[in-house]
């Protein structure tokens, strides 16, 4: 049997509070992965690893978006455009192309030209 996940189910505890605490719970990752028909089987521990990496990814993305917001002279509220701009500007985030509409990407490219 799989060992029960170390993170608390549904609790919002950021990764920086401890190595095994999770923002994203193991079961959520497992359900998400199962949606993918090509993936037959994944261990709980592998889901934990994915969750940890996703946590780091989220923190990085949010930080960048916040930096974008501040650079734009705003400080009150993180907007869709801040996140979208970060995605559009980074080649490493090209895999998010389906999530962020192409029109936003084009606009960002034009803005930085």
């Amino acid at each position: 049997m799989d060992a029960s996940p170390a993170g608390s189910e549904g609790a919002a505890s950021p990764g920086s509070k401890g190595p095994t605490a999770l923002i994203i719970t193991v079961n959520r990752v497992k359900n998400l992965v199962k949606e993918d028909a090509e993936i037959k089987s994944i261990s709980t521990e592998a889901c934990f690893a994915v969750a940890k990496a996703t946590e780091l990814f989220l923190e990085g993305l949010a930080s960048k978006a916040a930096a974008h917001m501040q650079a734009a002279g705003r400080a009150d509220s993180l907007e869709y455009a801040d996140v979208a701009a970060v995605v559009a500007e980074s080649e490493a985030l090209d895999f998010l192309g389906d999530v962020v509409p192409q029109t936003v990407k084009a606009a960002a490219l034009l803005a930085s030209a």
Partner: protein, 128 residues
């Protein structure tokens, strides 16, 4: 759908903890972040799946996930954070004696390392 994918409220809460107190997050911004995370999960798990198939394994293991992160070139801080998490998890679950592959770090040291890595990740993403 709230059944699969990451819960938006949880994501919102954790982002708020990273940001100054007065800062808010627009609903569609956190929704977009959730979508990005879901996509990331699919990306990494697909890559890990490819690796497990290469190794003729039927189940994706944490080692496959680590290798996937390497191949996807997100950066060394991802590898360190995941390895630290897996290592610490082993410490928690195997209280008696030392397990093979023990990194030798205490729980406290692992937590410190984790925090340091997250800070470095944040700094790296801000300057990148």
């Amino acid at each position: 759908q709230d059944d699969v994918g990451l819960p938006r409220t949880t994501v919102q809460k954790s982002i708020k903890e990273l940001m100054p107190k007065e800062m808010r997050i627009a609903g569609d911004a956190s929704e977009l972040l959730v979508q990005c995370c879901n996509q990331f999960v699919h990306l990494v798990s697909t890559q890990a799946n490819d690796i497990s198939e290469r190794e003729k394994r039927s189940t994706i293991s944490p080692e496959h996930v680590v290798k996937a992160l390497e191949e996807l070139e997100f950066g060394p801080q991802y590898l360190e954070a995941v390895k630290a998490g897996l290592d610490n998890k082993e410490h928690r679950e195997h209280k008696a004696g030392h397990k093979k592959g023990d990194s030798g770090l205490t729980q406290e040291q692992l937590i410190e390392l984790q925090q340091k890595l997250f800070e470095e990740a944040r700094a790296a993403t801000l300057s990148g």
